[in-house]
Symmetry: D2
Subunit: 354 residues, 4 copies
């Protein structure tokens, strides 16, 4: 594992928990080695989480023959090189989103890793919220009919800070709210509705001197004829982690809000919205958890995601369609790039994939 901060903690917890909660697990995770630049901090992380070894140079992870899966939870500018190197050393790889800082970088990562023949996953963990998987299943079964609209927004409130965070730096992050939050919305839009064909967008940087976007707004057109909006902002006071979306189809509508992640709102036809408390034994992922009504949290998405990856490795099955591959990471990046292009050009930008 590369990185021991926010994402590292979430991934470690995923591996440790899946081992006994998703019993029997297809593979027994072994925490071999963790890499981080600060020697003391990485040593403490290793002690805390039970890694066998800790190193300060990710190259040692790549060179370590006992490492079979390379988990990259580092900042965006540490995605490409280590991930490619690990794959080319024959390790399966999972990388935090956004895959690269640009579509070019993402494409390069995808191509090189795919050529290495290992399993690869972009950590779009919200695909693994039970309510989101249920939504996908409902759409696949045709319960919403033809999709007409997708409206997704990811709102947070912490942008008005003078703190120096790599997420505010274009070199390290690539973009601001777009790559950090918007990429999640774009990925779910693709997962639930289909490919995005064009975008028309505006961006804003509210905080003086910052060189990434604090917010963006976009109109999106899908290949299947649906149309909608995708937005994200770090300047929405009162919205802590409000990733919410709504889909309208010819046969009904569904709506979701990450701040109430155990609930899916469903209007069957025009009957009005029903709150599905997604926790029944037959709901996705719930065979591993608790009696209905005993809710789970945000961190559980990583348990599900990493279990899915171990399954794919153990049984040599595809990560797609429910897991996001590096191709999905690349495709989200194309949409992000098009949003930035449109914000600059003022034109509706068509998205083409290489």
């Amino acid at each position: 594992m590369l990185g021991y901060a926010f994402m590292g903690k979430a991934h470690v917890n995923g591996y440790k928990t899946l081992a006994y909660m998703t019993w029997p697990s297809p593979l027994e995770p072994r925490l071999v080695s963790i890499a981080g630049r600060n020697a003391d901090a990485v040593a403490e992380a290793a002690a805390r989480y039970g890694f066998e070894r800790h190193v300060t140079d990710w190259r040692e992870l790549v060179a370590d023959p006992e490492v079979q899966l390379f988990d990259n939870g580092g900042p965006n500018d540490a995605h490409a090189e280590p991930t490619i190197a690990a794959a080319e050393a024959g390790k399966h790889v999972i990388c935090e989103k956004p895959l690269g800082r640009t579509a070019d970088e993402s494409h390069e990562i995808w191509q090189r890793v795919a050529a290495a023949g290992v399993k690869h996953m972009t950590a779009f963990n919200y695909r693994f919220v039970p309510a989101v998987r249920l939504a996908r299943e409902m759409i696949d079964r045709g319960e919403l009919g033809d999709i007409r609209h997708f409206r997704g927004r990811y709102l947070q409130e912490w942008g008005a800070t003078s703190a120096e965070v790599w997420r505010f730096d274009r070199d390290a992050a690539g973009s601001g709210a777009l790559g950090d939050l918007g990429a999640h919305v774009i990925d779910l839009a693709r997962y639930l509705v289909g490919e995005i064909e064009s975008v028309a967008a505006s961006t804003r940087t509210f905080y003086p001197g910052r060189d990434v976007d604090d917010a963006f707004e976009s109109v999106v057109e899908f290949a299947n004829g649906a149309v909608g909006t995708i937005e994200a902002s770090r300047f929405a006071p009162g919205r802590k982690n409000a990733f919410s979306w709504e889909i309208n189809g010819s046969e009904g509508s569904i709506a979701f809000d990450l701040e109430r992640l155990n609930e899916l709102q469903w209007s069957e036809g025009t009957k009005g919205f029903r709150t599905i408390l997604v926790s029944e034994a037959e709901h996705p992922f719930w065979q591993w958890w608790w009696p209905h009504g005993h809710m789970i949290g945000w961190e559980h998405t990583f348990v599900h995601e990493l279990r899915h990856l171990l399954d794919a490795i153990a049984n040599d099955t595809d990560v797609a369609p429910h897991g996001a591959t590096f191709e999905d990471g690349y495709r989200a990046a194309e949409v992000c790039d098009a949003i930035l292009r449109s914000a600059g050009s003022g034109a509706r930008e068509r998205i083409t994939y290489r």
Copy 2:
């Protein structure tokens, strides 16, 4: 009054109710005459609502010396000529929205009526929801700080119908969801946030053979630097009359949903959203109604709106800023036109006012 259907009923109820509920009323409304094309139906409407006379040609209303206020609740293609004629005959005028079918037509109505020197009001009744007025007051007092975002959507579900309705006909209506629903969103965006400077939009017509938009999506940029989205659709199952909006400012956020019109959600700073049940004695318009918690409905917006107009007439005060004038009707039409232009051109369209 011209028209006795949906809007006619709402306006008549407004006049009758304000007379004793907003006591003492600045003017005593007298229902002099009502016009409609169907002789039997207009006769029954006159009997039902207590009009002294009923006519089948609106020109008789214009010629009637006892008519002092001309209330136009007819379809969009019956807005321009009667309204202008009434104003030029010296009558004050109120006209349903959208004012005209295009910015050109709206501009013509505004200019001709303004030249006549009478009071004029575009019936953007949602300005007169107590929660909306409260929102405006909060913004005026600076309680939200600098506005960063406006997100407004007006969703309905009845579009998938083969019924022949003038609202689906471009000649009669001008546009579809845009002029019918979107105009309301645009007006509140202007009322609460300020002028819109540019739009980038897409439209869709889902129903075969229809020549107006069933839905539109747009990114909007405001003159004050705020940015957001405006959307409307008649193809959102489960959404009956869901006009909802959210505003994020530097000092807090507010949110509203017409389906729960007595509530305003307010996050003071980042404290989280509080439900203000807008019904306290000190809240806008509540001096006329009931003890707190005894909620009012949609129709009350017309009571407040028409009371405001009678005030302006009786005391020769301005309809603006809380009432929408014909200038506001025209400005909303410019934004509507720009949305259609952008949908066609694929370019972000700048809005200029004549």
Copy 3:
């Protein structure tokens, strides 16, 4: 009409509105005469609302041959004598709740009025909320199966006041939160679930020196085997007019909150709760109002209630079961009395009806 304050205003609005909104009305209401103790105030009320006459002694109403319906919106200690006198003078009567201050007084009113052979109605207006009527229809159709639980609470917040209000005086009001708020809950419990067989209760007076209850709590057992709670308080900060109830049956559950009176929550079986926005053309009372999603308010309950009474008078039909008769007023009073007895005795009190 006796009384021109809160209830008088609500009833007058009901008569005036039903005349054109529930078109054609079975009877054309004529506002003949209004009585009140303050000569100036009653004169102004007559001018405001359009009564033909105004008097300071209710006996003049009783003696007035043109008065055919006597509407008593006075305080509780002015219910018995005028209502009985009016009925005995051959006038139909409607009286605000609670019918009398005790079961004895209520029984006397009911018996004397019934003997006079006129129509009588206790103004339990919440039976005429569309969502409540819909609930009753669902129960009648068996959609909830056997009823197991009723939980009703009516919470307000204004009790901590030194204001001198007749509602805080036992002689004038009979009881406090019990007769004012609790009576509504009891009536809906009877309307929706059935007769109450026993109660076990506690009361509290929080405000020093007051001689009525500020709050009560009770366990109720129904004749059909259902069991639940009925509560009310004037000391629940944040609850403006929060009359909420929930019913659990063998086939599903429904829930309601007066602060969102246009909504009924329904769990069909164990599917989870769906928000029915009660405003479809086929919903109770909605043939008279607006397109769906255009919500109505608290005052509309009186329009429906008085329309129902006029129907009964015009067509000589029964006020029951959807309207509350004086027998219903009496029966609610028996439950209220039993709650007070139980609070005093500490024993579960059985309710018997005379």
Copy 4:
């Protein structure tokens, strides 16, 4: 650990997770041995969760010198003997709720264990929901003023089943919804408001042939003058795990629903209810988790609870007041017994503690 089913799984997850999430933990949990009657099942549980040993007789746990903490997650009729034996063997003990099947049995457990001088905890895990702890802190700081009302209900829907479950058997369980669900409500009522002085109650068994209560309803009076209701049912369709409560004080109100366990509703004075998304760094327990808005689940209550117990053991601090001791387990049982007595006698029953 005794038991490997629902509660065993929740406790094991607690120990394993606290070790690295509440870093540094005061004690490093070591999973020494697990007991269960089914040899195969307990062997698999040991393998799954990583226990060093597994046994089929709890006496072996008691005799095991390496076991320092005895965790009893067995059915109610397996609480007394093993727990007492473990304590008398010098082990600290935690026992699932209800502590005993009756107040007598609970008292015996408490007295014998307390005499042994070990730490003891009743697993009332809902004290360890962050929103509940926050509520307690607000009350302690006086932010609600004098408490007037507590209304608590715990509703589930699964009671209408022919499955043979020990929870439906009086010998094994002691009581039905009362001890299973009601005990939780009673404990939080005591934790948040104070001692309960009297109860008046009714119970119902809806399912034929069952000898425990399926539901109970009660009015409760608190020593501090507050009054309210406590209810529970297994026959509330649509309510999965709906433990909700509301507290009204002289300075404000708070409300909670376990189905949305990350939220606390707070009306500061009469301002109306604000949703506190309990996930800020300064909120209880959140120093161990994620950035705000990244929600936790039901299982986390056990992490917090067991961490609290390890703290008490490591530092020899009191389990009370935030943890429930066996005295708290006993006191809840006295209230439960009084509810059953009142249901039988029809009298309001006073609660006295030995």
